[in-house]
């Protein structure tokens, strides 16, 4: 009836594009990752060095720090986005005049290019220029210097990310919430469930696929974050995330071999993390949906 050949045919343009522009470059990076190759080295060309690059990165404090920072950044940012986004979506399920206006305004940050987002936030937080350190100092006597305090730089990048991406989460949550059938909720209320119980036992299970998918997409993007943070703080202490670290190794340092091996490992870590989530979605999620 449905000939698999037709299916492959439909899938083929996508596969071709992703193989050419995604998989082949990946193979190249993988290949380079097993070589020592810096174009400004005394010796020319690539030299195969087996697993040396991978051995090196295990002891590379800067790389390990960057992974830790990226994890912190992703965790804080995504957790805040999900909680805040869910709450906002909940508020948007109510009806009140002017709702769509608020919703539209709330999606504005999503439309600002990351590089411009970084620029705006830099302008907000650079002392002597931005209003944030000025007002914090005047009102609360807080010394706010992202160049001096790594924690503040990390916090600023988290807040920036939350500002930029919460609207995305709100929209997906809103979509999820609006597709939850009304009967189970009403039924639970009739049975005397309180608000929290309704949320925990009814809303959340229905919302789980949307929730996990949203988190999944945000994780992929948060780990790749470069533009915003590069504009904001240049990837100094506190914001030297893996994406930026790789960029510094690959470009100014032109250490292509090592940079490639770090990329491979980072990609691998991301895939493992997402695979666990994927099992969460398609394994448990499926039973309840179907």
């Amino acid at each position: 009836m449905r000939n698999p050949r037709t299916g492959w045919l439909l899938l083929s343009p996508t596969l071709i594009i992703l193989i050419v522009f995604g998989f082949l470059p990946f193979l190249y990076v993988l290949f380079v990752g097993f070589h020592e190759w810096n174009i400004f080295a005394a010796q020319d060309g690539m030299r195969y060095n087996g697993l040396d690059n991978f051995r090196r990165l295990v002891f590379d404090v800067d790389f390990l720090n960057s992974v830790g920072l990226t994890a912190k950044f992703a965790l804080f940012a995504i957790a805040s986005e999900v909680v805040l986004g869910f709450f906002l979506a909940q508020m948007l399920t109510r009806n009140f005049p002017g709702k769509s206006l608020f919703r539209i305004i709330h999606t504005f940050p999503l439309m600002v290019a990351p590089i411009a987002v970084g620029a705006i936030w830099r302008l907000l937080v650079i002392p002597g220029f931005g209003p944030v350190p000025f007002l914090l100092d005047r009102w609360f006597d807080i010394e706010y210097l992202i160049g001096t305090y790594p924690d503040q730089a990390l916090l600023t990048s988290v807040i920036m990310d939350v500002w930029h991406w919460t609207p995305f989460v709100t929209l997906t949550m809103l979509a999820g919430l609006s597709s939850i059938p009304k009967e189970p909720v009403e039924q639970a209320k009739v049975d005397g469930a309180n608000r929290f119980q309704v949320f925990w036992y009814v809303t959340l299970p229905f919302l789980r696929p949307v929730l996990l998918t949203t988190i999944f997409i945000r994780i992929m993007d948060a780990i790749r974050t470069v533009d915003e943070v590069w504009m904001l703080a240049g990837g100094g202490p506190g914001t030297r995330f893996t994406g930026i670290y790789i960029w510094r190794v690959v470009f100014p340092r032109t250490d292509y071999g090592y940079g490639s091996s770090i990329s491979i490992i980072t990609l691998y870590l991301t895939i493992v993390l997402c695979w666990l989530l994927f099992i969460g979605i398609s394994g448990q999620g499926k039973d309840e949906v179907e």
Binding site: P13, I104, V112, L123, R224, T242, I246, L267
Partner: protein, 284 residues
Amino acid sequence: MRIGLRQRIARYLTTYGFWVFMTLLTLIPIWWMFAVSMRSRVELFARPNLAISRIFLENYSNVLGDSSFQRYMSNSLLISSANAVLVMVLALLATYALSRYKLVGKDNIFFWLITNRMAPPAAFLLPLFLMFTRSFRIGDWTLFDTQLGLILLYCVFNLPFAIWLLKGVIDGIPIELDDAAMIDGAGLFGVLRHVIVPLAAPGLAVTAILSWIFAWNEYLFAANLTSVQARTITTALAEFVTVTGTNWGELAAMSMLTLIPSAVIVVFAQRYIVMGLTFGAVKE
């Protein structure tokens, strides 16, 4: 249930209070960008002040009067729009295949498709550069510095997202509808056109819109794989940062201008965005 007038007013007040507060939080950074765009360079380093003291349009006139700005803008519009359409069409076909056909290892294929969005971009710039300048070369023509190059490349991070989004939507359309149409004599494209597309319209729209936004906002690939002809507006933003001082006023003015096209699109497409973003959540 009847609610007293006073209660209702209180409720509205809290609702509006909350939303006005959220709106302020959302808009302050954008407002600040606008305020910066309204200042001359010498005014920028005065004591920080969120208020705008005068209308100063020189930053805007400088940006708008620059012929390369117009080229960047039209490149960005062309690349994002073409990419959005391409992604929408390819994702529809691919997702339909994944959803309706028994394909060997399709779960793995689906997962692999998605991993394409995970790659940290920096290390991939070199192979892509080599590919763009060497592999895709016909005579003097190369894929480097062409709009086509970016349109195809942006599929790498947009297709995984789009397929995922549409997977839920198309899985949610009962297969019986397909079968019924087929019994009525519809071919594959008939089914797609008369059954799938109408039912998946909100999902398709949101796929296109979000792809458009992601493509519009992309910087790193555009900066490295174009030179003069196909440069996009985001690469122009980075040009303002120079060793002799960053021109924050013009950078902010240009950022404000780049906001306009996406704002227009999103405002018009609000309804679809929410309807489309269900990711396979349960339908009523």
